[in-house]
């Protein structure tokens, strides 16, 4: 082995060539997908639908959370005073309670203004004017700074112990039920997302497997001329990436369309409760996250297929 005149080769600048090859493979695999328009579009659509379901669940859940937060975010304690104690006790309590720890604010509603509001809202105006005297007590609504049910209960007990307080009403059960419901819905979205994510992984894996099969002879040839495993894998990983990313983009489009359709009825529904609410979409970060997730699933599915099937293909 002393002489080998024809072999000395200046080492090529590997990194730039490697990057150039990545660019080329990325582009070629994308171009290949676009050439097979219909079948690629179908795969993208399947992936897009599988991704849009959990994404839609996530968005609706996020909107529900914002919505319940929009109803002031915090529960209020309604403190009713003895009819006998009159407005002054309530007024004093309102100014005192503002200084308490754990209290954000307090609003005093006099007996007269309570009656006026009831008259206005209930539609029993005539009945009320016929009453001999005002049946409504003075009310202070207390806004706690903590939202944890335990803290609110403690505050309620303390208020109940104050002079002239007749009753404290906190709709804790409602808050707890809502938060339990939202947690449940969150879990459901996660479960749905996991199953459909697994589905996306398998869809992409299977699509890549078919692609590997159809390029079997090409793989044999490039293995014969000395391609490394990484080189052989590369086009298929890019293919997976494009499938996943394309599916995610399609999912974003489907989601936007879906929300546009839902937005009107939701606003009418909430409008009937006297609430203003805009349905929020994924947003930029949500969209990017979905694209990232799609890409990861794409590469992951491709990797599964490639690691299972490429070893089987050896030159004959």
């Amino acid at each position: 082995m002393a002489t080998r005149p024809s072999v000395t080769v200046a080492a090529p600048p590997r990194l730039t060539a490697w990057l150039a090859h990545h660019r080329r493979v990325a582009w070629e695999s994308l171009a290949g997908l676009l050439r097979n328009g219909v079948s690629s579009a179908l795969t993208w659509l399947v992936i897009g639908i599988a991704l849009v379901l959990p994404a839609l669940g996530y968005v609706l859940l996020k909107n529900a959370t914002t919505l319940t937060g929009g109803w002031d975010g915090k529960p209020r304690l309604t403190v009713y005073f003895d009819l006998a104690s009159g407005d002054t006790a309530a007024q004093r309590f309102a100014s005192r309670v503002k200084g308490w720890e754990g209290v954000d604010g307090a609003e005093y509603i006099s007996r007269a203004s309570a009656l006026a509001e009831f008259q206005r809202r209930s539609g029993f105006g005539d009945v009320i004017t016929s009453l001999a005297r005002n049946p409504l007590p003075a009310v202070v609504t207390v806004t706690p700074s903590e939202v944890a049910p335990g803290e609110i209960r403690m505050l309620a007990i303390r208020i109940e112990g104050s002079d002239d307080v007749d009753d404290v009403v906190v709709d804790l059960a409602w808050i707890e039920r809502l938060s339990a419901l939202l947690t449940l819905a969150q879990r459901a979205v996660w479960a749905l997302g996991s199953f459909l994510g697994l589905g996306v992984l398998l869809i992409i894996g299977n699509t890549i497997r078919l692609s590997i099969e159809s390029r079997r002879s090409e793989i044999e040839v490039i293995k014969l001329v000395g391609a490394t495993d990484g080189f052989v894998r590369r086009p298929f990983l890019y293919l997976g990436l494009w499938y996943g990313l394309g599916g995610a983009v399609l999912a974003i489009i489907l989601l936007t369309a879906c929300l546009a359709v839902l937005s009107g009825p939701v606003q009418r529904l909430l409008g009937s409760y006297g609430s203003q609410f805009d349905v929020h979409g994924l947003g930029l970060s949500g969209g990017l996250l979905l694209m990232l997730i799609g890409s990861i699933f794409g590469i992951g599915g491709a990797w599964l297929a490639v690691s299972r099937h490429l070893d089987d293909i050896q030159p004959q």
Binding site: P5, S6, P12, R14, H21, E218, V225
Partner: protein
Amino acid sequence: MIRFDHVSKRYAGGRDALREVDFELANAEMAFLTGRSGAGKSTLLKLIILMERASQGQVFVDGINLNRTLRGQVPALRRKIGVVFQNHQLLFDRSVFDNVALPLTISGYQPREVGRRVRAALSKVGLAGKEQQLPMALSGGEQQRVGIARAVVNKPPLLLADEPTGNLDPDLSREIMNLFSEFNQVGVTVLIATHDLALVDAMAKRVLQLRDGRLIEGVGVAGGSTDHVRVDQRGEVPGPTRSEGGDAS
């Protein structure tokens, strides 16, 4: 360059493709591997490029014991060996240029360098100007020459050919053999499996003859070559003499 040390190959199913094959091919030597179909020619070549592994004995290529190579080392070995296949093994959906460029792309050459080398290799095999055609548009002989260009484009020290003239007429066959001879003259070790005995005689090179998996003849022919290597009765090669060669392209 190549050394077979009591190599046997038994395929699953019990067929013995090679039995106790023992020979050495020196650096820059050129030899023919002959024998009937099924005598073990293809198996012998497959052992050299690790498409198969020996059941017994040891194969050395360029000083490397192939028995000890790991999966991950196979690509590096194959890049040292240019192989010309009887069925060409071309990619029919890629241009002639892309086919020939394949070994360079795999090794990570710069596109500019790839272009230069591919054109050099194509003009060497007489296909300059056909770079952008698809292999389908070429004749059998031209396809074979694309295969040869691909085999030599990265200037490997070892060139193997399996029935390179299998489907060609005598004139084309001679042309292709002369091409191999030219590569040999610039220092490339060449081993050609063929059953075209007339051509082998005409080329006056060393002949390794296989029969039923055994090497029954390994005697070089004197004259005509810079490498007069004789194999003695035990199949061993005496100290080879060789000339310094120039650049392959």
